[in-house]
């Protein structure tokens, strides 16, 4: 299936837009648990949903933390220890991965600006927390050949006291540590 590609204006080279299988997809670069270069994708439809909800902090975190920062990943886990059905896969929890690191910055609103949706500000990362990006390995390379991983969700979690680069209770959250 041929892909078409078009440039996107943010941080040239960091994020690009392609069309695959009739769908627009944003792609950016990262690494996997072996350190090999990989391509991460998210559908434009998914980004549009977040924008339509007005979840502007979430979209700022994607653009300013996830896209430029996933290459800095420090810990990678596979298998979420909770029931998860994705499509026909009743055990999709086993293939999900969690990429974890501690970015320097986060994004927020000042309380006084809560009614002005253009006034997002950056600030130092929250103390004692790490950032997680949930991804799924692309299992449909025939129709979507360019992405190695699909990005699904991103958020902060309290960090472990046993390993400061890991989320709290990582021993019970995930099946195994890949990195």
């Amino acid at each position: 299936m041929p892909s078409t590609e078009s440039a996107i204006t943010y941080h040239e080279g960091d994020l690009r837009q392609v069309e695959e299988n009739g769908e627009l997809i944003y792609l950016f670069k990262g690494i996997d648990h072996t350190g090999a270069a990989k391509v991460f994708g998210i559908t434009k439809h998914q980004i549009e949903k977040i924008l339509e909800r007005g979840s502007n902090i979430k979209i700022a975190q994607f653009l300013m933390i996830v896209v430029p920062g996933i290459v800095l990943v420090e810990r990678i886990f596979q298998g979420l220890r909770r029931p998860l059905c994705d499509g026909d896969n009743m055990h999709a929890d086993q293939i999900k991965q969690a990429f974890c690191w501690r970015p320097a910055f986060d994004y927020w609103w000042k309380e006084a600006d809560r009614f002005d949706n253009s006034r997002i500000e950056f600030r130092e990362s929250p103390d004692g927390k790490v950032f997680i990006v949930n991804v799924t390995p692309n299992q449909d390379k025939t129709h979507y050949p360019l992405s190695d991983y699909w990005v699904e969700r991103w958020y902060w979690v309290r960090r472990s006291t046993n390993d400061l680069k890991c989320p709290v209770d990582f021993e019970n959250r995930y099946d195994r540590k890949l990195k």
Partner: protein
């Protein structure tokens, strides 16, 4: 007044402006969870058990409750085991009612506060596309 972060977002994604936030509930079919978000904020996810995670505002104002949402995980298993239909529109309060019945220790404060701020439903149907999550339907 121009804001460089908002400007980068609108420029990157071809938007004229950012939209205002409204409390929302939606089904994320790839993560098989329902997310209820009461604020547009930076969240810390606090995992309580395999079915429930609270969303904590990382920087709440002093007069605000830090709990700014909840995530119900393993929805298909949970719905099936509690007789909640997997299709159509479901009231979020009905889902939380089942959560409280299974985990009564959570009912005292946090879920009650969320319920008090809610009048939301979530649409459970899955469109035939890879994109996600499903649309939400304010009540």
């Amino acid at each position: 007044m121009p804001n460089p972060i908002a400007d980068q977002i609108t420029k990157a994604f071809g938007r004229a402006a950012l939209k205002p936030f409204m409390p929302v509930a939606y089904y994320d079919k790839h993560m098989d969870c329902i997310r209820v978000e009461l604020r547009d904020c930076s969240f810390t996810e606090e995992r309580i058990n395999p079915h429930v995670t609270f969303l904590e505002d990382n920087y709440p104002a002093s007069h605000r409750n830090a709990t700014a949402g909840i995530m119900i995980k393993g929805v298909k298993h949970f719905f099936a085991s509690h007789g909640i239909p997997l299709e159509g529109i479901v009231y979020v309060t009905a889902i939380l009612d089942q959560v409280v019945k299974q985990y009564p220790e959570l009912a005292e404060e946090r879920i009650c506060k969320i319920v008090n701020e809610l009048d939301l439903t979530v649409k459970m149907s899955e469109p035939e596309e890879i994109s996600e999550p499903d649309e939400l339907v304010p009540a």
